[in-house]
């Protein structure tokens, strides 16, 4: 699982890294703290673009191929927040567990 939690990085905002490879998210389950804003760094290792989308998080962002993008989420209440890749929704699925 290619998860790197950079800890306190930018103004106390923890950074969590997610990779997209072969239209799958790594890791596909991410644990983040409740009541805290975090920064997701989504790296697309595929050559094709993908769109990170989550209705529960109210987030939607295109991640170009072989590129990376940042998405801020939270503060969130404890619970599960699914996300998916809109371009390849059958394979690119994951969830954020807030605890």
């Amino acid at each position: 699982v290619l998860l790197s939690q950079s800890g306190i990085a930018q103004a106390d905002t923890p950074i969590y890294e997610i990779h997209i490879r072969d239209h799958l998210f790594y890791p596909d389950v991410l644990h983040i703290p409740a009541d805290k804003k975090v920064k997701l760094l989504v790296r697309n290792d595929d050559a094709t673009p993908e769109e990170f989308e989550s209705y529960e998080l109210n987030r939607e962002k295109i991640i170009p191929g072989n590129s990376q993008a940042t998405i801020f989420i939270g503060p969130l209440l404890a619970g599960e927040y699914p996300f998916f890749g809109e371009f390849f929704p059958k394979t690119a699925q994951g969830k954020i567990i807030v605890e």
């Binding site: 804003k37 920064k39 050559a47 094709t48 673009p49 993908e50 769109e51 209705y55 529960e56 109210n58 987030r59 939607e60 962002k61 295109i62 991640i63 170009p64 191929g65 590129s67 990376q68 993008a69 940042t70 998405i71 801020f72 989420i73 939270g74 503060p75 969130l76 209440l77 809109e86 371009f87 929704p89 059958k90």
Partner: protein, 262 residues
């Protein structure tokens, strides 16, 4: 893959189709030239292609906030252009305001088609190297685009076949819904870029209308429905609606300007 292509392209096309149908409906009723809308559509698709080609560059702008900022500026622009369009409707007898109407329709249509077409182009481009899937994706995209365009045509004919007060009410309500939609997306993009604070949801209506459902998707495209909106999102949405309503209800606003047209 077919169903996914249909839904994805339908979602993108539907929003632009609704804006186009409302603008075209008003222009038809007023006898105003509609050629600008077609011109804006073509310009929007070309601009969308350039946006899609440079999306990696845009993404890296402003410490990774480029996509959100550009999208937010476009959505705020569409909202302001809808307000300008409302004002020009009230003052249509003035030649200057007719020019304002042309510009607001041109830019509003351009911005709405640019963002939607860019996403469709990006999505399709991902399958260029996969011939076995490209056919399915193109077929799904064609079906999705056709459904979206048909819904737009349906709204257009519904509008132009209404007369007098009914036409005016229908047109203005559609403009208000679309204005709310653009503001909802504007605030969401600012929150995503951390330029607007995110609060806990004001309500959770996902058990009533899920954003995953077809109805939820349709309502999102129509007026930016969110099952779990934040306090700031609701405030901006309501504030934007109040501004639009204040314009419409202002004593000097010629709400009846459309009544005299067939």
């Amino acid at each position: 893959m077919l169903l996914n292509s249909v839904i994805l392209v339908l979602r993108e096309v539907l929003q632009a189709a609704l804006i186009f149908s409302v603008f075209l409906g008003f222009l038809y009723k007023l006898g105003h030239s509609r050629a600008w809308v077609l011109f804006a559509l073509m310009l929007g698709i070309i601009s969308g292609y350039f946006y899609a080609s440079n999306v990696a560059l845009v993404t890296d702008w402003l410490e990774g906030r480029g996509q959100e900022l550009l999208g937010a500026v476009m959505h705020l622009g569409i909202y302001l252009l809808i307000l300008l369009f409302m004002l020009s409707l009230s003052n249509y007898d003035n030649p200057r305001w007719r020019k304002v109407m042309t510009v607001s329709v041109l830019l509003g249509s351009l911005f709405s088609s640019l963002r939607e077409s860019a996403e469709v182009i990006l999505y399709s481009s991902g399958f260029i190297g996969i011939p076995s899937m490209m056919h399915t994706v193109l077929m799904g995209g064609l079906i999705g685009a056709s459904i979206g365009i048909c819904v737009g045509i349906l709204f257009y004919y519904l509008f132009v076949n209404l007369h007098g007060k009914r036409a005016a009410w229908f047109g203005y309500i559609m403009l208000l819904l679309l204005a709310g939609n653009t503001l909802s997306q504007f605030s969401q993009l600012l929150m995503q870029a951390d330029l607007l604070p995110t609060s806990y949801p004001v309500w959770d209506s996902s058990s009533l209308i899920s954003e995953h459902s077809m109805l939820g998707q349709l309502l999102f495209e129509l007026f930016g429905y969110e099952a779990t909106p934040s306090r700031y999102q609701v405030s901006i949405f309501v504030g934007g609606w109040l501004i639009a309503l204040m314009i419409l209800l202002h004593p000097k606003y010629n709400f009846k300007s459309l009544f005299k047209y067939p």
